[in-house]
Subunit: 133 residues, 2 copies
Amino acid sequence: MIQRMTRQRSAVAELLADVDDFRSAQQLHELLRGRGNEIGLATVYRTLQTLADAGEVDVLRAEDGEALYRRCSRREHHHHLVCRRCGTAEEIDGPGVEAWAEAVGAAHGFSDIVHTMELSGICASCAAEAGDA
Amino acid sequence: MIQRMTRQRSAVAELLADVDDFRSAQQLHELLRGRGNEIGLATVYRTLQTLADAGEVDVLRAEDGEALYRRCSRREHHHHLVCRRCGTAEEIDGPGVEAWAEAVGAAHGFSDIVHTMELSGICASCAAEAGDA
DNA sequence: CCCTTAATGAGAATGATCCTCATGTTCAGA
DNA sequence: TCTGAACATGAGGATCATTCTCATTAAGGG
Ligand SMILES: [Mn+2]
Ligand SMILES: [Mn+2]
Ligand SMILES: [Zn+2]
Ligand SMILES: [Zn+2]
């Protein structure tokens, strides 16, 4: 848990409030530097980790395994529809998936079931750009 | 696409036929060595990559981002219920998820929708072990 | 057989992420 | 406001999975 508020942590929080695309730790670090915030990469990683543990940010993995972070508008469990090109994301619900996952897990004798369900695609804006070129 | 059959590729294919848990490339390399198969780690990576591209093996990511491979019994699209402890996996269907994903994606103006939905938990066998200790 | 060319593998390179530890900062309490 | 103990930072190094390089090996069609 975060115990002390620092300049760096405030900067990360502010950035996450402005950016609503899924971004890697390194991208966020670049953005912070671009905004004039002095902050070390290790601190960005640590802060994101802490926020993730606290459920403040959602983490998902790009196809290459890189971790992507985003502060969603709601803290409750939900799923995402993410643009593979630009990272923009929509929060969506998975109607019935939660109950279904529990049932399937139990039917196979598994306990402590967790599930992931993520959608990705190309957003309208990125599709338009591609069409131009 | 694979153009030539080699001792190494045969060994990987045989191993994948025997192991039905999700395993990392390095674990598979260890297993091959243990079976007396001389094979380089790079070759294991390359072979798994090729098999994955061909849809012969499924790839999913552990929580730490490491890639895990498994040759499933069916080549058609499906989902998994994986034990986080031992890697054993059950193949499951996601009734209605495919259509739902398409619909949600389209509703948000996204194209080329792909979805992932994976369940994980602790299998009965691993739960029993944990209970002993 | 015999080449052409794909495949292999040892070792180096890459890249994300974590760790170390000396130094800087926060903030509860005086 | 003043301190100091504990927490936080960051530069640089360590890890570790995965990929690349390139000299060497070996499929397999003809
Ligand atoms: Mn869900
Ligand atoms: Mn599906
Ligand atoms: Zn986009
Ligand atoms: Zn298990």
